[in-house]
């Protein structure tokens, strides 16, 4: 609590100056309003606050060092949702119209349930929803879901990358035959989201797919891992979230399961998940469309211009700078900035509307050269987003926990589109039929 009181005191102390500075920024009419739906309290706050700090730090960097995107600075406003989609709806309605004359070009939902809750509204209001590595897998199909962007890697894609990596570990797809892969999952939409793809891949490669649910929050898992043990798995995939991850790893170790033969999902692979698991987590792997680490070039820039100048949004920048969730935020903000840059080439250097931003995002190409300029080589994959493909990337790296940090053990592993795409098409068609949507025609 004392930390909160200090921050209130600090807030009051600098309130006057901040009001003046935003006043100046708004006066020239060249700001882009960005509502951020955050959860700095509630069960997922520990991941969330790093994520939002990453985003804010990158936006601060663009504002302070580059003078905005082609001169258009960001005006950020946060809305607390506590990871509750109902509150996200309220925040959405409050922020969709923009603020002080600056339109809302995109909304970062930071939560798959919130993306679902806002999908229909965003289609009506023509505001792109940003949910990289989250959201409905089928929203990769931009013709049915024009305003949803599950950039980088969908949940289906995460299942596919997991199997590809496991095949590599066994020395090739032919060796998957007869192997048993047990998925221990958060019993929720998120946890189940990769099941259809695992079923398909099990058919294709002949491995046995076993799915075992864990109820939220999962702080006691003895029964579950006894069951896993009984299955004698050749590999274990964890699709957990929050406290469920470290408890799962520790309990697995106790039951004699080889934790170096465990692969965590995107949201089960952050430092905050590993530290509580202690030695049990050493050698544990995790899928990383957003690898952890602070050695990427962009981190040098952030360190010099944001962290060292005391402008960072991180509460503890010594420990958390370069954490996986911080990097998630940096990458998300960078994707938004790139989308804006591309849209501005067509619409001019001014604050953008949602429809203009849609064009920018759907024409976004980030190649190796651009990654180098951004200082994100190795942190972000090459992307090519089109109206048909809102994922754009479809690859992830795998990182291994060493006991005090992450070590990248693979290059970018691509999704098997031949398996995933038909599933996505089928789901998207089903959704379009259920909701009475006619897919867009794009030339």
């Amino acid at each position: 609590m004392s930390k909160h009181f200090t921050s209130i005191a600090a807030a009051v102390a600098i309130a006057a100056s901040s009001i003046m500075s935003t006043g100046v920024a708004l006066a020239d009419g060249m700001t882009q309003y960005v509502p951020l739906f955050v959860y700095r309290t509630g069960p997922y706050a520990s991941s969330g606050s790093l994520w939002f700090a990453g985003e804010r730090d990158y936006f601060t960097y663009i504002n302070e060092v580059e003078g905005g995107v082609n001169g258009v600075k960001f005006a950020i406003e946060e809305f607390e949702t506590e990871y509750n989609p109902d509150r996200a709806v309220e925040a959405y309605e409050r922020s969709k119209g923009g603020k002080d004359g600056s339109p809302t070009a995109f909304i970062m939902t930071h939560s798959t349930p919130a993306t679902y809750a806002l999908m229909d509204r965003a289609r009506e209001d023509k505001i792109p929803l940003f949910d990289p590595a989250g959201g409905p897998s089928e929203s990769k199909n931009g013709l049915v879901f024009p305003y949803v962007f599950p950039l980088l890697l969908t949940f289906y894609g995460q299942g596919s990358v997991a199997v590809n990596f496991i095949a590599e570990e066994f020395g090739g797809f032919e060796n998957l035959k007869g192997k048993k892969i047990v998925t221990v999952y958060h019993d929720s939409g998120y946890g189940r989201a990769s099941q259809p793809v695992m079923t398909k891949l099990a058919e294709k490669y002949g491995f046995i797919d076993v799915q075992i649910p864990v109820a939220h929050p999962g702080s006691e898992q003895t029964a579950i891992w006894r069951q896993v043990r009984a299955e004698k798995p050749d590999y274990v995939v964890l699709r957990t979230w929050g406290v469920m991850t470290p408890v799962g790893i520790k309990t697995a170790k106790r039951f004699g399961i080889d934790t170096t033969r465990m692969l965590g999902d995107v949201w089960a692979g952050s430092r905050a998940d590993m530290i509580p698991a202690g030695d049990a987590a050493i050698g544990y792997n995790a899928i990383a469309p957003y690898p952890g680490g602070s050695d990427f070039d962009v981190h040098a820039k952030l360190k010099e211009h944001v962290i060292d100048k005391g402008l960072s949004n991180l509460e503890n920048s010594d420990a958390d700078f370069g954490a996986v969730f911080y990097n998630v935020g940096v990458v998300n903000a960078a994707l938004a900035v790139e989308g804006m840059r591309i849209a501005m080439e067509k619409f001019g250097n001014r604050p953008l509307t949602g429809e203009e931003m849609l064009w920018g995002l759907e024409n976004m190409t980030i190649d190796a050269a651009r990654l180098e300029e951004l200082g994100m080589t190795g942190l972000l994959q090459e992307l090519k987003v089109t109206p048909q493909d809102h994922e754009g990337g479809g690859a992830a790296r795998v990182q291994e926990w060493t006991g005090n940090g992450w070590n990248l053990v693979s290059d970018w592993i691509a999704v098997d589109d031949s398996v995933v795409d038909p599933l996505i098409e089928a789901k998207a068609a089903e959704y379009a039929a259920e909701q009475g949507i006619t897919p867009r025609v794009v030339d």
Partner: protein, 356 residues
């Protein structure tokens, strides 16, 4: 005292205001109704859709719980569960049953929730007070589990979120304009509130209050307490079910079990504690208070302090404030804001009479 929600003396004020206040009351009511009808015309989309509409729906849910807790004296923590039943029933009726005439879907969803409420009310015949609350808690967790466990309830989607297919309403699309949504909700809420108010003034309501005030005495004077308790559970769940479907599909649009968890049950309970037990108006007053206070705090913080206070701090501050308010209300004024308003009105009237 047979249960936690019981009040020591019957509050006759709650049964239709007798005497001189009557005229002023109905004028105030008509003025309020007129104001509500005008909302979409004179305010913004935001106010209509995100301020007034959810307050109406939460108020309706509060009314549902108030029937059970405030009038019949059975405390429940299963409100969220029954709201979920309503929402999922509406979805299943539309998707699997093909019933897309929205008012009918909604009523049937309410009836299904009512039947479910009847089943979960059965234990109240044998057990009392605190233990009834525990069975309602069981209902809450049972439905959270049920709707996640069986994919049929969310039409075999990858993710257990539900949103209605296009729904008809005399040729209008219910998912379309917010104005349609608002008037539809308003009409439903007003009609249901009017029904509840009549029900409470009838012998049913009097029997409920008799059971609430003393179960045994009610039995002695010939009230079939089993029947009326079961009825209270049924009708309460009917209201909660409809409120759940409205919340899920009219306010949110897309919903999931996440919108109807235990914190929703507590929210509804706080609405009736703060608004006023055994009061119809109190539900809406309480809903407005609970739903709008966070928005007001947020608004003032952003206007006067700027963006420098982390919203997390504000959110914790709200929880602190709610906790304090609930304790204060329970100790100082168990009849809630409604009673305070009534006292204030009475004082104004007496003052007016003195002047005249």
């Amino acid at each position: 005292m047979n249960s936690v929600g019981a009040k020591p003396t019957p509050d006759l004020n709650a049964i239709g205001q007798a005497g001189s206040g009557r005229g002023t009351q109905s004028w105030a009511f008509l003025a309020l109704l007129a104001a509500l009808v005008l909302v979409p015309l004179i305010t913004t989309e935001y106010v209509t859709q995100v301020v007034v509409l959810p307050v109406l729906v939460l108020g309706l849910a509060g009314l549902g719980l108030n029937i059970l807790t405030g009038y019949a004296g059975q405390i429940s923590l299963g409100s969220g569960g029954f709201m979920a039943v309503g929402a999922y029933a509406a979805y299943v009726l539309a998707i699997h049953g093909g019933i897309t005439f929205f008012p009918l879907t909604l009523l049937l969803a309410g009836v299904i929730a009512g039947l479910v409420g009847w089943v979960f009310g059965l234990p109240s015949i044998r057990i009392k007070g605190f233990y009834v609350m525990v069975t309602s808690l069981a209902a809450q967790f049972f439905f959270e589990w049920l709707f996640l466990k069986f994919p049929w309830f969310y039409n075999y989607g990858d993710v257990p979120t539900i949103s209605l297919p296009p729904m008809g309403l005399f040729g209008l699309d219910i998912n379309g304009s917010y104005v349609i949504k608002y008037y539809f909700t308003l009409a439903f809420v007003v009609a249901l509130t009017w029904m509840a108010s009549n029900l409470i003034k009838s012998h049913v309501g009097r029997n409920w209050m008799a059971i609430r005030d003393m179960d045994t005495a009610a039995g002695v004077i010939g009230i079939d307490s089993k029947k009326y308790k079961a009825l209270a559970f049924t009708i309460s769940a009917f209201y909660l079910g409809i409120a759940g479907a409205l919340w899920g599909f009219i306010f949110l649009g897309t919903t999931s079990v996440g919108s109807f968890q235990i914190d929703r049950s507590f929210q509804i309970l706080f609405i009736i504690i703060i608004g006023g037990m055994s009061s119809i108006r109190g539900n809406y007053i309480g809903a407005a208070f609970i739903f709008l206070l966070p928005l007001v705090i947020d608004y003032f913080a952003k206007t006067f302090i700027g963006d420098t206070v982390s919203p997390g701090v504000l959110s914790n501050f709200q929880k602190f404030l709610f906790g304090a308010l609930i304790i204060i209300f329970l100790i100082k004024e168990p009849d809630g804001i409604d009673k305070l308003l009534r006292q204030l009105m009475g004082r104004v009237r007496r003052w007016g009479r003195k002047r005249a």
